[in-house]
Subunit: 485 residues, 2 copies
């Protein structure tokens, strides 16, 4: 172990040491890992440090515990997958074609109806974690306490823009991502979905065009269509996010682009993070062009690094950025709570929120304010990030092992999904159908664009702790893909 790592906990240093040994082949696949006792002696560490190191390598999928025999280096999987390809340079950017307004909806509805008809055994299409990823007991207790502390809350008027205490906590938490809103600038919403609706309603009129990433979250395409807007898909790099050059080109054409919607951190479905300099350029470009920038930061807190990523909003000086977020991925999939910073449209957004659904009820906000105001929230996030990292690694390993040669995948540094490129013209629609018939649900690439451009992709979620069922489902998926869908 080298001296540069003195700030890192001892067990992580120890784990890094053996990770290196495994990567270099010093510890070959199938080899027995030194026993815990040996580790304690060799490195002069405590039992708990030695154990933690082994467990952490096990979580990463590098070691395997065999009952009564100790840890072994995992059996060889295949070489690391190639990352997903960049969009063809210029192709879409030169002549941005507004994705057809119709189509996407029917296609998504089609998938939804099919899913309703077929029982799902293994769901690899959910974009949030399974219940065990979240602090069920602590949230329940916070809700019980809120009810006892404020017994009148269910029969009293709801607080106008959301509970002030909750907004104060959100304002404080926003600072970690480089923003500095006052509680008064925050509007509490029914999830990020309502926030996106309000943002788009605030800055567009039906018939307007909205620039989005390509591929993008299909829920966003639904919102855009249902509001009578047209989505314009901007080429998006699986490693650097939306192309600012392509967007600039799009602005320069005749199209009535009134808003840009981006997911700069752990984009859905790509999983990529826009580099900070790209975020800053994007904010400056939209500001100069007087096109509203709507940022969906729903995954931003889920970075492996334990540092919340900066938001586009953190570069906003003119109020041109509307920032949206929610608890759905990070804390409580069962609570419909989101929020937004309205920028210069704050007053209009408040009015629209009032006209659309009135202010949110207080109970959930009181409970969450208590939890998010405490260190328990930080501890939860650390745990969740570890879980997701391990789940992503294990899922990617399984894909590498079971999908046909030529499969590509970029490994995200946070979040809970993998974007998988299938080789040789496989159709995600066909793979989806064949998998669903066997009770396995994945999100077909077709859902993430109004074009058919991503038909050879699958989005595979890693929200559930990896287990033999998931392994079996991915093996079966790999066979389906290999068989040509």
């Amino acid at each position: 172990m080298d001296a540069a790592t003195v700030d890192t906990p001892l067990y992580l240093q120890l784990a890094a040491h053996y990770r290196q040994a495994i990567a270099s082949g010093v510890l070959a696949p199938g080899a027995r890992m030194p026993s815990v006792r040996a580790l304690m002696r060799t490195h002069r560490v405590s039992l708990s440090t030695a154990l933690q190191a082994c467990r952490s390598l096990e979580d990463e999928g590098l070691l395997e515990a065999r009952p009564r025999s100790g840890y072994f280096v995992q059996a060889p999987r295949r070489a690391v997958l190639q990352p997903v390809q960049e969009p063809e340079p210029g192709a879409t950017a030169a002549s941005p074609d507004p994705a057809p307004y119709s189509g996407i909806h029917d296609r998504i509805s089609d998938f939804v109806v099919k899913c309703e008809r077929h029982p799902v055994v293994t769901n690899l299409a959910l974009a949030f974690g399974s219940p065990e990823c979240y602090p069920q007991e602590a949230l329940k207790n916070a809700a019980l306490r809120a009810l006892r502390r404020r017994p009148e809350v269910l029969v009293s008027p709801v607080p106008p823009q959301g509970d002030p205490g909750f907004r104060a906590v959100l304002a404080r938490r926003a600072m970690a991502a480089g923003m500095s809103p006052t509680p008064d600038e925050i509007v509490v919403t029914h999830g990020c979905t309502e926030a996106l609706n309000l943002a788009l309603r605030a800055v567009t009129q039906p018939g307007d065009t909205v620039a989005v990433e390509s591929p993008t979250y299909f829920g966003l395409l639904q919102v855009i269509e249902s509001l009578g807007l047209t989505a314009l898909e901007i080429p998006t790099s699986p490693s650097r996010g939306m192309s600012v050059e392509a967007l600039e080109l799009a602005f320069a054409t005749h199209l009535q682009i009134r808003a840009v919607v981006v997911v700069p951190n752990f984009q859905n479905p790509l999983g990529c993070v826009m580099p900070d300099e790209e975020k800053a350029r994007l904010v400056a470009l939209c500001d100069a062009a007087k096109v509203a920038l709507i940022e969906d930061d729903i995954y931003g807190a889920l970075s492996d690094d334990d540092l919340p990523l900066r938001t586009a909003k953190s570069w906003d000086r003119s109020g041109n950025v509307i920032h949206c977020g929610s608890l759905h991925k990070t804390l409580a999939p069962g609570m419909r709570i989101g929020w937004m910073l309205g920028g210069r449209w704050l007053a209009r957004i408040r009015m629209l929120k009032h006209a659309q659904s009135r202010a949110n009820d207080a109970l959930a906000q009181l409970a969450i304010a208590e939890f998010m105001g405490s260190h328990a929230y930080d501890r939860h996030l650390v745990r969740l990030r570890r879980l997701l990292k391990a789940q992503r690694a294990a899922t990617a390993e399984a894909i590498a092992a079971h999908f046909p040669a030529g499969t590509r995948l970029s490994m995200p540094s946070g979040g809970m999904m993998l974007w998988v490129e299938m080789p040789g013209g496989r159709s995600s629609g066909q793979v989806f159908d064949a998998a669903l018939a066997e009770g396995i649900r994945v999100a077909p690439g077709l859902m993430f664009s109004n074009s058919g451009r991503f038909d050879h992709f699958l989005r595979i979620s890693c929200g559930t702790p990896f287990n033999p069922n998931i392994e079996a489902a991915i093996r079966r998926l790999g066979q389906i893909v290999a068989a040509g869908g």
Copy 2:
């Protein structure tokens, strides 16, 4: 007491007897009411019956309890107020003029901003009851039990169209109002406001015209405006609701009427109930004209008679009626829960609900399902109706006593508001300003129409148990009105 009343509880028969005596002058204002002991002797009733009768007359404002001296007939108030005038025949119906799209919003926002600036001491503008009208403890306990029974609820996916158990209870309760939905036809929403938004979005396109009552609930005008629709105000009788003849005329013109929104039961602000035959005609007319009928039945359960009123939906055979409701008035102003029956637009409404805010979270629904599924809900409604009846009576009495001669008011048979016509060209805007400066908030008639037609009206709410503060506020209001606003 006559024999026809054998089904009525004894104390109400006794109360009716003395109400009659007071009305006829047999018991003059200021006279001492026979003592409880005397009542027991004369009518051969129990102590509790005699006491209940006196208290009920006291609640109505007919008797006054003086400490240690017993009950006295209330000091003379003024003769019963004249009912509000019918709209001028034909005037609006002949040439329906689409209310201007712009205007209403600024005006309402204006009132809202003024209210934010001035502290309110007595709020007579709320359209829901004060906390003591609702079963705080029972709801809190139901929520505590739901959390303990389903501890995973906050961290698990939300049920797609709302909790099935809650929808089953709603379906059962809907039968009392003449409807027979299956649980699957019900979509749970964030309040009646979201239901109205979804209904209008399902059946209209921006630019379309929507027929509404005149006057109507200002929140509805806001929804219509915010969706880019135009409101067409149809003459509405303070005793019989929207004029079906006038609506027929409006359909016959060139206007693009795509939907009609009505509040058939205890209309806001008129308080009137459409007679059943009018509801049936309205349903038939809209069906024949292929114009969607959206029914807002948020007050329907609040009838003095303890019989839920029939809904327009109960005459619907073709799916042309969308029915909307919520808990906001009847059970829990602090919970944003509403519902809708989507009729033939059910699939589209589900899609829009999903795109607008996703399904509602489960906790509140679980708690409410338990409460609404039990007799406790029926008992609560009986109590609430009694309270509201007494509060309306007392408020009307106070208005009669303190407002200038020529003031008119129609007494609703349910709900929680009075629609007061001021004499001699008083402006509600001016009265509103003057009252607000003294900490009294009323809803000015101006808010209930895109025209200035109702400027000489005030809507005065009776959601809070009548008390000396309210009496004083109404006295002061009367002086302001008398002084000309």
